[in-house]
Symmetry: C2
Subunit: 368 residues, 2 copies
């Protein structure tokens, strides 16, 4: 598999770290302009087009982050490189770059996520230890989110057999503080810390659901041990389903509020499990590369003639967009803008933070 | 719907109460000889053919039981009569006759069985009360087996809204003794006691699984609240599935042994429920008359010529039979006995207690 040159790695990091360049925008830019370097070159013109400033990360800033990661014995891994976790390549909006500390000798293919309530009960923690220990002994690496409660129990019980903690902030911003020692222990035992966020990034509330897609995406399946209704663990389970991965839930008494989420998941189709054997039996058939249920992303046929947006195309598109997600084909028909011009305008709006994609085909104005 | 005359009712009871006449044999006799009365007339010849004595209930014995039931304010109800519970007509091996006390004003169509562990936990009993109360308030009659634990909790919580207790022994043989007062309360509140067994019959271990098919068969669906592995409640659940009825199970922690049965049922396809609303939603689509998954019973084309068994047919069939269930068509081919003679011989062996049907098409020698 190809390795990036140092200059390419710096360019990837610059593009990923620039304002409003999420995984979807990153891929659209590279599809449109042919390479990461060409996309960086195109950003200033797109910014002028958008008429709104957005920050483009400088070469020096990217080199500084790589050097700082180096001092932490961490590495930047790009999608397509041998070190990039293969299971993660199959999810929608996979991160173009990850920063990883440790984990060089882990089996990143034989992975199970175990997630659950921060306010775990003693029984929930015990169940987590039982499942994790048996999965570890069966050769599975356990992935979790380093949160209090179930996550902590899962990491602790898999320290010696292999554990991966996915962070919502930078590698140097362990959350919660009380788990800073656990993060060190994970590295000490050869486990890994993983994040797509920059060094120094303190996690905000919205970063946790985004992180959760990596927890499930790194894993053949996700086990939910205790989860209340509307909890982060249920978000991870939903993401796992969207990623076409197995979701397992530990049942509990309907009289126990901590069992509500798991029981609801089972009613919605998650597999009820009572032991690691139940999980292992299902995972033996798991194939993380199986076809996703998603529609493909919109990608226009780009003709040989470059057709830049016309003078009033921008205002016509802006007035056609709303906060309700609209299909690209509908926008094309309504505005009569050419596909090439539409792509450029959407990239401009996207980079300026004005729109968001709710799937590869649906786009909406960002709410206030 | 037709009502039996007193003489017919006595004849039905005589046939049902004769040795080795279970529901399947009863139907085969009536199919072969055209009526209950003609079947009774044929029994002596079949006994001579079998060469083994079996008890044929006399008219006086049947009349005595009917009179005794009358004194208990109980009634004998035959399949096909208006009072016979319609849901029960759709199950394999439905009892030809039931004896019923009370329940005249119950809605026998809107029924849910609730069964579970005799050694119920406090939480299990609470869950049962919650489910039963809500089902009762929604107009459902609750069916159970009058056992200790969950059954008792279910009957108690549905006394005022409607409850049916199915017994494994005679109407005058309430088991366990401690529930004799509960049985009286059920009748006092207008609920019903139901059994297919004769007055004076003390239940043996084998009578409980047989009774359980009536619990599930009377009901649109069966709810299992707490059940250990290999428990009677799981037998009821399996019977409900065989009857093509809904099976619901209350989940519990894998650390709680009382949850093993329910969790295993959910893994096998039972619906996880946490509230009466979950049950009611499913039952709104339940149709107890939907086609069963069973093969049909063997029923030979009877030609106009009566072909009695030949001299050595009996010994040839006996040596062809084994304790392994064998298909009738195979027995016909192997022994070259005519279908008419085969039917007579199998009825003789059946009435003499020598064979058992393991489905409508498979027959085996009874084990020692």
């Amino acid at each position: 598999m190809p390795m990036l040159t140092p200059a390419q790695r710096t360019a990837w990091l610059r593009l990923v770290r620039s304002d409003n360049v999420g995984p979807v925008t990153f891929r659209q830019l590279v599809n449109r302009f042919g390479s990461v370097e060409a996309s960086l070159d195109a950003l200033p013109a797109l910014m002028r087009g958008a008429g709104r400033p957005f920050r483009i990360t400088s070469r020096a800033q990217a080199e500084d982050e790589i050097a700082a990661l180096d001092r932490l014995n961490a590495r930047v891994v790009a999608m397509g490189e041998a070190d990039y976790p293969e299971h993660l390549t199959h999810i929608p909006a996979a991160p173009p770059l990850l920063t990883i500390a440790g984990g060089q000798d882990l089996n990143w293919h034989r992975t199970v996520a175990i997630v659950g309530a921060r306010n775990a009960s003693a029984a929930g923690a015990k169940m987590t230890r039982l499942l994790t220990t048996d999965l570890g002994e069966a050769g599975y690496v356990v992935v979790s989110g380093l949160a209090r409660g179930i996550d902590t129990a899962a990491h602790r019980a898999s320290l010696t057999t292999g554990t991966i903690a996915v962070l919502a902030g930078g590698l140097d911003c362990i959350y919660p503080d009380e788990n800073i020692p656990l993060a060190s222990e994970i590295l000490g035992y050869g486990g890994a810390l993983v994040t797509e966020m920059p060094l120094g990034w303190e996690p905000r509330a919205r970063d946790f659901p985004r992180r959760n897609r990596i927890v499930s995406g790194l894993s053949l399946g996700t086990v939910v041990v205790e989860a209340a209704k509307r909890s982060g663990s249920l978000i991870t389970a939903r993401l796992a389903l969207e990623q076409n991965r197995d979701v397992f839930a530990v049942p509990g008494s309907p009289l126990d509020p901590r069992a509500e989420g798991g029981n609801a998941l089972i009613q919605q189709g998650a597999k009820l499990i009572t032991s690691a054997a139940d999980i292992i039996e299902s995972l033996s058939a798991a194939d993380p590369s199986r076809t996703l249920l998603f529609e493909t992303e919109w990608q226009p046929d780009i003709g040989p003639v470059d057709a830049p947006p016309g003078a009033d195309d921008r205002s016509r598109l802006l007035s056609a967009l709303s906060t309700t997600p609209t299909d690209i084909e509908e926008l094309l028909a309504q505005t009569e803008i050419s596909p090439q011009a539409m792509q450029i305008l959407l990239l401009e709006f996207d980079l300026a933070g004005q729109i968001e994609w709710s799937s590869g085909q649906l786009v909406a104005l960002r709410g206030a």
